[in-house]
Amino acid sequence: MAGVSLLTYGFVFLTPGDPAYTILREQRQSPPSERQVEAFRAEHGLDEPFFVQYLSWLTDAVRGDLGTSYYRSEPVTSLLIEHIPNTLELALAAMAVSLLLAVPTGVVSAVHRDTWLDRTSQFVALLGVSMPNFWLGYLLILICSLWLGLTPVSGSGTLGHLVLPAITLGTGMAAIVTRLVRTSMLEVLEAEYIDTARSKGVRERLVVYKHALRNALIPVVTIVGLQFGFVLNGAVIVEVVFQRPGLGTLLVDAIFARDYPIVQGVVLVTAFAFVLTNQLVDLAYVALDPRIDRRGGEQP
């Protein structure tokens, strides 16, 4: 986490563009004078050397204070708290969409290996991976909202607002997970314990869903955990396309405005979410796979 914070701070510091100049020009609708710029810099501590800036930001950040937005003059922490639920909602919905799509498709693909069912789903999955998020988003808006009038074009709040962004974001991931589930299932279906189950007289459907799927999901969980970072990434684009007020829109606006504290805050939160999901993945492992030692680390 400390590494991430240093890196983002460093990158933001190195990006061209002077926040003082940009923000002041925006505020007064005219190029600011040299002195005004100096004053702004002094106020926000921008005239200090890099490491002094970083250290003061870091000490505040540890206390939960991520600074104040240059532009909106609001504490970054409260801005983040305001925007996080929207993005979290979108990310979770997208994950749900992708898993609901991917797991059954992957299983069916594996069970009916090399049939037209498998080929079709593989082709669709390939399309899903290749299709850029923003393009799919506009396409969905065009079809569902403008032509069919089923869903609102943009904004947030109701379930209707969530559907299209979740599908847009979910499909890309679903495509990857489908392929993964398929490969993993194919491998597991070759295992001898599957034959054992069959030789017991277990129904084929139960062989697949009870005996094979649980084993096949173990490697999938790792990737899904890693994919969560990808989802947050994608959320930035999707939120802009659908004009949802989330972390993504906040980040993009902040970057254009050279509103450094917000950029750093968002990146930090994303990194934190990433670490958190990986912890959750480990917990999911324990639930799925009894071979992982439950006692590990919990002993006094």
Binding site: D195, T196, R203, N215, G297
Partner: protein, 663 residues
């Protein structure tokens, strides 16, 4: 005999990329209630496929002809529902390797309970109830639970209460195989098919499982099909034996009959390969030639190419079934072949060829003589010397445990002192988990001793990192399973070359040495460019041996080098080892749980149990008059030896009268 299960003229084919492989081409036999039938043959002869076809798990193979009948019901054309019912209630199967045949994510209790539920009602398997049953790890229904406990007890699992909620990885191989047996028994089957049920287990566990299997089949009145490549296992337990070769049943009859009076040349050859039939240190008989791959079935007898007494007719016409005794039939029309002695089936050609090839590099002053030359240097003392070596492992590597200095160590090797003199073969025996392999790793430097000293040529050595190049070169290691000890992504040549590369040999010397090594292990140069998966088990083990010999070691540690191989392949590898020892003056540490093999190769035997060295001494003394009770137990557990040779004076006298000829 009215068989409950009758297999008739079964043909199973595999569709491979280019042409179909005939795995089974015409297998016929019957199993009656309460009878134990053994199915014997080398790997790849189609015995597993036959067994799997009976429960219709022949996929990806395909039954193309013949019939399998159970109580008059045809199985080859049965629909899924019928199969479900038959699998759930009548035909149970136990597979070879218990570590892969139990589902790792469900508790063993649940896996047995599932079989019980299916037995009760095979047609009614509610989807969601079954899914939910798998998720809760504890069995709740008390009736099922007590039934499961009863089954666990029946198959001889101690403390079933503690084991019922365990997962397969928490149990030993022997216990897992008992669980598999419990799953099979839960169905109260009419026929039990056991596919090499004890091959993956050590000798004592094997004996216990086989005993239990015998008792249970008598108790339940089950017909049992016991599949094995080990004649010893089969003859301990079975009433009748069916011998398969290349997908064809070549001989079948009562066990004693087949053992005392084997009539098919292949059966004779197979029996001749068993190490305990031969004089220690003698050249073991092998079956000459290579087994057919089933891709192009010959019109005649499949064994004809390897049969020393084959006639032209054998190659061209299918052989008739000839009755040679009561219920004893053999598929061989040549009466000379049927009457021939076991010894005449030895593969003379390979052995003599190997001898001449071996003598060349040693005689022409090549590199291999250097190792013989270096031998006298160390001859006065022992080559490798273990002085009260102890090795323990931490049970948990958790950071918390380390910080708190929780010291729950398992001791794998306890206070072992052992010396290896140049040129001798030391056999190391013991049950699995007794510390044999750890001891081997200590010698090779793959583990560092927790206590005690390992000396090489009188110098104390540590782990691999601390050893000098020459010290590393002095020890070669061959592991048990060549399928996993060779890197699948590297060609044979690359694998053999690697130690040379590490030792800094230049390119031309490396190429020369690889060629020489391949010659030593009787492989041709073309094998160098192949990948391990393109080789047979025996060939892979030769490659592993070549790699171990690359740097001209003076001692080779062989960790169960033949455990994964067939009898006849085992015989060729053992012969090769003996030849190499004679030519290169090698010292062997030969680890095995197979006492017949040890008796054959070792000068001295060391017996280990629970990390301790129980006794050491000359092979003949330790294995005939063991002083330690644990050694006795180990000796008694070896299948085949005791029962048949005691109950069957014929075969005993056969062995003794033949031994002088074997030389």
């Amino acid at each position: 005999m009215a068989g409950r299960l009758a297999v008739e003229d079964l043909h199973v084919r595999f569709q491979t990329g280019t042409e179909p492989v005939h795995a089974v081409s015409g297998a016929s036999f019957e199993i009656a209630s309460g009878e134990i039938v053994g199915l014997v043959g080398e790997s790849g002869c189609g015995k597993s496929v036959t067994a799997r076809s009976i429960v219709r798990l022949e996929e990806p193979g395909e039954i193309v002809d013949g019939s399998i009948r159970f109580d008059g019901e045809e199985l080859t054309t049965a629909d899924d529902r019928t199969l479900q019912r038959l699998r759930g209630r009548e035909l149970a199967m136990v597979f070879q390797d218990p570590s892969t045949t139990l589902n790792p994510v469900y508790s063993v209790g649940e896996q047995i309970a599932e079989a019980l539920r299916i037995r009760r009602n095979p047609d009614h398997q509610p989807f969601f109830r079954e899914l939910a049953a798998g998720i809760g790890s504890c069995l709740r229904a008390s009736r099922t639970r007590s039934e499961v406990l009863e089954l666990l007890e029946t198959v001889g699992i101690p403390q079933p209460e503690e084991r019922i909620d365990a997962y397969p990885h928490q149990l030993s191989g022997g216990l897992c195989q008992r669980v598999m047996l419990a799953i099979a028994l839960a169905r109260q089957p009419s026929v039990l098919i056991a596919d090499e049920p004890t091959t993956a287990l050590d000798t004592t566990t094997q004996a216990a499982i086989l005993d239990r299997l015998g008792e249970l089949s008598a108790e339940y009145g089950m017909g049992t099909l016991l599949i094995s490549h080990d004649f010893g296992v089969v003859s301990t337990l079975c009433d009748r034996v069916v011998v398969m070769y290349d997908g064809v049943v070549v001989e079948r009859g009562p066990t004693d009959e087949v053992r005392s009076n084997p009539s098919h040349p292949y059966t004779k050859a197979l029996l001749g390969c068993l190490p305990h039939r031969s004089e220690p240190k003698s050249q073991l008989p092998t079956i000459g030639g290579t087994p057919p791959d089933g891709s192009a079935p010959s019109p005649g007898c499949a064994f004809a190419d390897r049969c020393p007494v084959a006639t032209n007719d054998c190659h061209e016409r299918p052989q008739p079934l000839v009755s040679v005794g009561q219920n004893h039939v053999v598929r061989c029309g040549v009466s000379d072949a049927r009457d021939a002695a076991i010894d005449s089936m030895r593969g003379e050609s390979t052995t003599s060829a190997s001898r001449s090839r071996l003598s060349t590099p040693a005689a022409d002053g090549g590199t291999s003589t250097q190792s013989t030359a270096s031998k006298p240097k160390a001859a006065d003392g022992s080559l490798v010397d273990l002085e009260s070596v102890t090795k323990s492992f931490r049970q948990s590597d958790a950071l918390v445990d380390r910080l708190l200095r929780v010291d729950d160590r398992t001791v794998a090797v306890k206070d072992v002192s052992l010396a290896f003199r140049p040129g001798e073969t030391v056999g190391l025996v013991g049950e699995s988990g007794c510390g044999k392999s750890t001891l081997a790793r200590l010698i090779a430097g793959l583990e560092e001793p927790t206590d005690g000293i390992v000396r090489l040529r009188g110098e104390a050595v540590g782990g691999v990192d601390a050893r000098k190049q020459a010290q590393i070169a002095a020890i070669g290691v061959v592991f048990q399973n060549p399928g996993t000890s060779l890197n699948p992504k590297r060609t044979v040549g690359e694998s053999i070359r690697e130690p040379l590369l590490e030792a800094g040999w230049d390119r031309s010397r490396r190429a020369e040495r690889v060629e020489e090594l391949l010659g030593l292990v009787e492989l041709s140069l073309e094998h160098a460019s192949r990948y391990p998966r393109q080789l047979s088990g025996g060939q892979r083990q030769r490659v592993a041996l070549a790699r171990a010999l690359a740097l001209e070691p003076s001692i080779v540690v062989l960790d169960e080098p033949t455990a994964a191989l067939d009898v006849s392949t085992q015989a060729t590898v053992l012969n090769l080892l003996a030849d190499l020892q004679a030519a290169l003056g090698l010292t062997y540490l030969f680890i095995s749980h197979d006492l017949d093999v040890i008796r054959h190769v070792a000068d001295r035997v060391a017996v280990m149990d629970d990390g301790r060295l129980l006794e050491t001494g000359p092979t003949s003394r330790v294995l005939s008059t063991p002083s330690h009770p644990s050694t006795q137990a180990l000796l008694e557990a070896t299948p085949g030896d005791r029962t048949t040779e005691r109950s069957n004076p014929d075969s005993d006298s056969d062995t003794t009268s033949r031994s002088p000829n074997t030389r």
